[in-house]
């Protein structure tokens, strides 16, 4: 009886681990652009390129690499374009921060001009 319960617990736990791994795989596949297809991620594509990438990503995950390491590897080979959501890099940071900096400088100037006028 003990053995039977232990076997069931083992199966439940291993199926949870398996589904978590599958979820992560699918999440990565959906974020990788199939560069030989039109507007498809490798998750949606059955092209040779997409199949090869899926196999490689799966192998890398099995070897213990994490999501970021896989994205870094693919970006180093194919550029930011391969990832749908490449995260913050220098270019995107500049695009986000510059309008804010201009807004602060502008606000400061208006504030100073107003103060001078009051005096």
């Amino acid at each position: 009886m003990k053995k039977f319960i232990l076997t069931i617990i083992f199966f439940i736990l291993s199926s949870n681990v398996f589904s978590a791994n599958e979820e992560l795989k699918n999440k990565i596949y959906k974020n990788i652009r199939c560069i030989v297809c039109q507007g498809q991620s490798i998750y949606e594509s059955n092209s040779d390129f997409a199949i090869d990438l899926k196999k490689l990503i799966s192998k890398k995950l099995d070897n213990g690499e994490n999501e970021k390491q896989i994205y870094d590897f693919l970006i180093s080979r194919y550029g930011d374009w391969i990832v749908y959501n490449p995260g913050l890099n220098f270019n995107s940071l500049v695009l986000w921060l510059l309008p804010l900096i201009i807004f602060i400088i502008g606000g400061f100037l208006i504030f100073r001009l107003n103060n001078k006028k009051k005096k």
Binding site: D52, Y78, I82
Partner: protein, 172 residues
Amino acid sequence: MNNKYKIIILGITIVIIFILFLRVLNSNKTYQPNQMIGKKIPEFILEDLFNKNTKLDSNVLSGKDFAVLNIWASWCIPCRIEHPFLMDLKDKNRINIIGLNYKDENGNAKNFLKKYGNPYSSIGVDKKGEVAIQLGAYGVPETYVLKKGKIVFKHIGPLNEDAVNKILQLKK
């Protein structure tokens, strides 16, 4: 500080900010085939097409002053178009060409070389296409020029006269 100088400094700051903004905004957001240029060739060890006991080691490629790495397959029609260019590079220009046989059957690859000639000094078998991905390739044919193990030029698609001239220029 004089008001005049303040306005000049402010003007210059705004111009610099806008130039930076425009440069970042116009940066390339499409597939960049030159991503691997300037990088060292990735490490790999592949079985040789003609001799299972021999391996094609990327370290051997890294040691060479100048080499051309060509990804090809017998099933790839554009590879037949570029083949005469590869033969010329080998015969007329004595360029060391290493082949990467991509997702192919060994028998078909050997028959292809028997029929069209063998321009390669050695050929690694990339059955799963993993080394091609390591190289940043997405299909066949693709050609890389290596100088002391660094990728200095990449050509996507079948070689043509322009690409061959570029390779010869790089060899000088």
